[in-house]
Symmetry: C2
Subunit: 478 residues, 2 copies
């Protein structure tokens, strides 16, 4: 196709323009920097998923896979267990989001990689796609997810839906369509099928159903693409009005669909604004305030025992995802600014080990949490956890220390360094793969763009010995 | 439990009250008339599903099942193909709703049986439940679905969601929870998981994705119950505010949750108002007007060639589901009052054969459709296809004949007779099972309440020879 063909000329539907972008963008139209950014996202997502595979939510998802016993064509990362592409995408999606340590994208308004990368790798695995094809499919899926997120706006979340589930499903459908060679008209219908599976409730934050949202999006995306390729029919203009998906699910504060779609790949969303990579394994809405706190701790040598009060100012909606004010479990602690602030003051670094039930239930941290308060910053707009700023005020007998936190740690404005990333990857994967397995997987991921077959990577996600912490060996199938 | 324990005492959540009703209602608390009505619903649903299994949507669903190759534990009705409980529920749900010939329930505001019965039979099949247990689970699931439908109101559909998908999912989750022995607290969480899969767009009416809605509800209900039984966590008060599922999905015109839940089984929804059974294999929103037209045809000996105009009056919302004004395919014809009126005038009886592409595309019927017009009946309320009335006016050179149609054919107010039902069942199942297979299956269904194992019924849904029209024998697995 000509480069201009998917740029939304008059008379083409939004659905049709998006669909042609997904299936017709040539491999040579995707800049090298896009593939490098996609490779980095693969590294981060595989890493956090291998850590997440040890979580109870991921164990239950794996049991579901075992129960169904589907034809073994795709890999559950971190397990000696293979299943169908759709069920692998589901289980790996749960693992990827289980720790809430996975990246997010401001345009997609959530954890897009946690569904798109499991979808891309499982869809690629069953057809033996190359590393480059998988990376391209992910970047294109993220491009679509970000555009959909911009159209549904922040109000979509405020109305009660989790974009990781909803926006992720639209993107995952695109990823599978690309890798499985759907025609544009087939993808239009695949999105119609996907449209009837859009969901994901914010109300489930702080439970295992939040990581389920990523798995659900990945699995349903593969399902929708597969069905449409077989000729299953559905509405083929689901992103167009009247009565389309935006009329039902958009928040009222999004950007106009036509303008958003006209900006496809100009610039690529994976480059600008790019993925926000998590420094700490907790909800992203904590990160900017936590980064600001660490700045204050370092600057003023703050100590936990001298704290009288910590006030964290949030713009309207800024702490919508931080649903737990008084957490008692590790999972609840991830969604509690009170806990992460108290833990950082008491313990210093926030790590995977910070979010166990025992750590949250410690008496000193429970006591310190009572001194952390949320303050409302007045504003006419409603913000997500990443947009806007926080105000931090720490009161001690020796003075009151304040900071206006503007930059989000792990974002392009305050990026993780290469050593930071490698440390995070190793911390995440060594419990499952051991040091040698970690090096092998990282090596293959680093050269993903040159791999002839993505199965070189999925093979390296399987522990040489069944080293995964809480697996029940008797239940694992070869 | 005591009979009063689930009647919603102060302090219990709506979610908890519903959950205890599902898992704690004793077998001896379910009246015989409820089981008989459930048995009749099983007969009707199995019948239309065996006819629906020949449809292209059901063939593609069966291919999905073959592609995944899950452990063969449950039966695809009408096929020599077995799979997991969840995938069987999915494929049978698609078959049950594929022809839009399945029953509906005014409380559930859609085709509840098309998801609940596939869910009940597949869930029962894998644990060897008795016929009585399956019937009880279905009746209880329908009770819940009807209450949820009354709470979300007709506005839920008007906002763009298909209750067959959304309400059906909540009910199917209850069905599986009952048959798989979940505790009340586990079902509360199962509904949390299900809540994040609620969806189903009216926009997809007239495509294969409408029958997908029933399959999706059945499959996701089994999945949600299974995950919760394994300990997967989710919000456990999803039917309670603030930010619960009703806040997000209800239409604003429903009944208050507390009052609705207080009326559980008083009387049983399956008895009053009971299921509305379809006389004709098209959208139920056509039926009342079509029944009225047949009354006028009989009374005035109307002939197609003398028609000048047919005006069908709809109350606000009454033709919301009839999305096709100018159908060109058999599937579109099911959602077109213009087509069914024209076909009835031209052909007399409306049968399965009425809804082929060729029949819809006939020149005489296309010409007659142009004479059928929809008229708006002013009213302050918004109605679904079953509530309210229609006004019919047929104009001919020899006069104008009018009728106010109040009763819905197949409803308790105008029920199908026993011979009507048997004729419908045979019309539906003989192409797949042949006459002997039809008699055998009907015999077992008639005595379902005494069957020790529901597998006596599922075994009888498999054709003795692979007689199903469009199956590809090479692809069918033993």
């Amino acid at each position: 196709m000509e480069a201009s063909a998917f740029r939304g000329p008059a008379g083409r539907t939004t659905t049709g323009t998006l669909s042609r972008f997904v299936v017709e963008t040539g491999a040579d139209e995707i800049p090298g920097a896009v593939l490098v950014a996609a490779r980095d996202a693969l590294i981060d997502t595989l890493g956090v998923a291998l850590a997440g595979a040890c979580e109870r939510a991921a164990h239950i998802a794996a049991r579901w896979v075992e129960e169904n016993g589907s034809r073994p064509r795709a890999t559950l990362w971190g397990r000696a267990l293979r299943t169908s592409a759709a069920e692998a995408a589901f289980a790996n999606g749960v693992s990827a989001h289980a720790l809430d340590f996975d990246d997010s994208h401001p345009g997609a308004r959530g954890h897009a990689s946690a569904s798109l990368i499991p979808a891309a790798i499982a869809a690629g695995e069953v057809v033996g796609a190359s590393g480059r094809e998988v990376l391209a499919a992910y970047a294109i899926g993220l491009e679509v997810a970000a555009k959909i997120g911009r159209i549904v706006g922040n109000g979509h979340l405020q109305r009660g839906w989790h974009p990781t589930a909803s926006v992720g499903l639209i993107g995952s459908t695109a990823v599978a369509a690309r890798l499985w060679g759907l025609e544009a008209t087939q993808l239009e219908r695949a999105w119609g099928v996907a449209g009837s599976q859009v969901g994901g409730l914010v109300r489930n934050f702080g439970t295992m159903t939040k990581p389920f949202h990523a798995g659900h999006a990945a699995r349903s995306g593969l399902f929708s693409a597969w069905m449409a390729k077989q000729g299953f029919t559905a509405d083929n203009t689901i992103f167009d009005e009247p009565g389309g998906i935006f009329a039902i699910y958009a928040g009222g504060d999004g950007d106009p669909a036509e303008a958003v779609v006209a900006s496809l790949a100009k610039p690529w969303e994976i480059l600008d604004p790019g993925n926000f990579v998590k420094r700490w394994p907790c909800c992203y809405s904590n990160h900017r305030a936590l980064g600001g706190l660490y700045t204050l701790i370092e600057k003023h040598a703050l100590r936990a025992e001298e704290i009288t009060e910590v006030a964290i100012g949030f713009l309207p909606g800024g702490d919508r995802a931080l649903v737990s004010h008084n957490p008692k479990t590790g999972l609840e602690g991830k969604f509690s600014i009170e806990y992460v602030i108290a833990a950082a003051l008491l313990d210093g670094p926030i790590t995977l080990g910070t979010f166990t039930d025992a750590m949250v239930q410690r008496a000193p941290v429970q006591a310190l949490m009572q001194k952390v308060h949320r303050i409302r910053i007045p504003d006419d707009k409603v913000y997500s956890g990443i947009a806007g700023h926080n105000e931090i005020a720490v009161t001690t007998p020796r003075g009151r220390f304040t900071l206006r936190a503007e930059r989000v740690p792990g974002s392009p404005a305050w990026p993780m360094t290469a050593p930071d990333r490698a440390t995070k990857f190793g911390d995440c994967t060594e419990p499952a793969l051991g040091p040698a397995g970690t090096v092998q997987l990282l090596d293959r991921l680093q050269c993903c763009v040159e791999l002839a077959d993505i199965r070189e990577i999925t093979a390296a996600t399987v522990p040489a010995h069944n080293s995964l912490g809480r697996t029940t060996p008797g239940k694992v199938r070869a």
